[in-house]
């Protein structure tokens, strides 16, 4: 029971921490000042959510939230690979933001029914805040998809890079049987993946974006990143021996992009592990 809760909440927390870290990299660099403010705020929310999740773990295991966030080895992180990818360009960051926050909404809606009362309450609280992330992401995808052809093309390219990795947010979790037996999640990861996929494809249809770019990837066992050789190249490291590029984050298999992020994110903590913030 305890290990099931820790497994579930670690995956949730690591996703929020790592995507929050990536969003924060837009601070000072976004295409205009309102977006600088928006991405910085979203980053702050996500990292705050990670801190709340880590505190929940700390109550169960006695470890410190700082240790959870900054004191672990790269293979101990359970975030999906999607969250750790470099920001690349603005279109990639927007599409990832939209896919991630849509997936997070599906996940939080389910978590509100969790048998763990603290987790359910936290999910309810977070979902009220996350709706602003969705509002932001939806407004941008709508605006760019209705604009000049270059914007549309770049959104479609980014969808090709992100979509399969977004589905991997719902890869099976460690101790998933126990998570389900104890009703920590009211339904399986694959059920959630189905809900997400249905919602995302239907909303993409509404945006007039061609949903068929990714629909057929849902159950593909042989997915190859369709439009980006660099995604495949980054997986050549033997330690990330994932069968599909971008898949395996839930089992601790990460890309080289993660290793660089981890190195920077944890550097101060590794130099001064006892420092108080």
């Amino acid at each position: 029971m305890k290990e099931a809760l820790v497994s579930l909440v670690t995956a949730l927390a690591d996703d929020e921490l790592i995507i929050g870290h990536r969003h924060s990299e837009w601070t000072g660099f976004a295409p205009h000042i309102e977006e600088d403010v928006a991405f910085s705020s979203i980053a702050q929310d996500e990292i705050g959510h990670a801190a709340a999740y880590y505190s929940l773990i700390a109550e169960v295991t006695g470890t410190s939230p700082d240790h959870m966030a900054l004191g672990r080895e790269p293979f101990e992180y359970r975030n999906a690979v999607l969250c750790e990818r470099l920001n690349r360009d603005w279109s990639y960051s927007l599409v990832r933001h939209w896919l991630y926050d849509t997936a997070d909404d599906v996940r939080l809606a389910a978590l509100q029914e969790s048998a763990d009362a603290s987790l359910a309450a936290l999910a309810t609280k977070m979902r009220r805040e996350e709706r602003y992330h969705l509002l932001h992401a939806n407004a941008w995808i709508k605006r760019v998809s209705e604009g000049p052809v270059e914007g549309r093309t770049r959104l479609i390219d980014a969808l090709g890079m992100c979509y399969a990795e977004a589905l991997a947010l719902f890869d099976i979790l460690e101790f998933e049987d126990s998570i389900l037996e104890n009703n920590l999640l009211p339904c399986s990861s694959s059920e959630l993946r189905g809900r997400f996929s249905m919602r995302a494809t239907s909303e993409l249809d509404d945006f007039g974006l061609p949903a068929d770019v990714h629909r057929d990837l849902d159950d593909s066992a042989e997915f190859l990143a369709s439009s980006s050789g660099d995604l495949i190249a980054s997986e050549k490291d033997a330690s990330s021996a994932s069968a599909r590029p971008g898949i395996g984050g839930r089992a601790g298999m990460h890309s080289d992009e993660f290793k660089a992020l981890w190195d920077e994110m944890t550097s101060t903590h590794r130099l001064h592990p006892e420092a108080q913030w």
Binding site: E34, V37, A38, S40, S41, I42, Q44, D45, E46, I47, G48, H49, A51, A52, A117, S118, A121, L122, T124, K125, M126, R127, R128, E129, R131, Y132, L134, L135, H136, N138
Partner: protein, 164 residues
Amino acid sequence: MVSASLAETVWTALGGVMDPEIPAVSITDMGMVLDVVAEDNDVSVTILPTFTGCPAIDVIVQDVEGAVAAVEGVESVRVKLVYDPPWSTERISPEGRTKLRQSGLAPPAEGPVLVTDIRLPEVAVCPFCGGRDTANENPFGPTPCRAIYYCRSCRNPFEQFKPV
């Protein structure tokens, strides 16, 4: 023994603990205090954080500890943070709404907040001129709890406390 009168004194003292990011309003104006229990001389205060990622929360906890410890008769104080019930902008008191407006921050629209509704309220009333012809410039602002608007009547940008 539970002391109702000590709890009441503590509530009054908490009315003097200001929100570090909006110094015009207190944490009781904001509806952040869920409960105060005084048992003998030991006081327990339950606080509802406004936003999960709010960096002011540590300061608020310290300020609450200080304010309660200063109340005559209090020997120990414990502050608990809980998310159930979730804090909502509906908890802001009428005085709190007035003070927000006076400090140039539009209070959130009145009434229940629908989680399924991802639109911002169409109208935020300008805290400077009372104009309703306003436009949302950004659902995010300088702190997690604020959005940025522009008033077409008096041509001032202003911030709104976002409904959650």
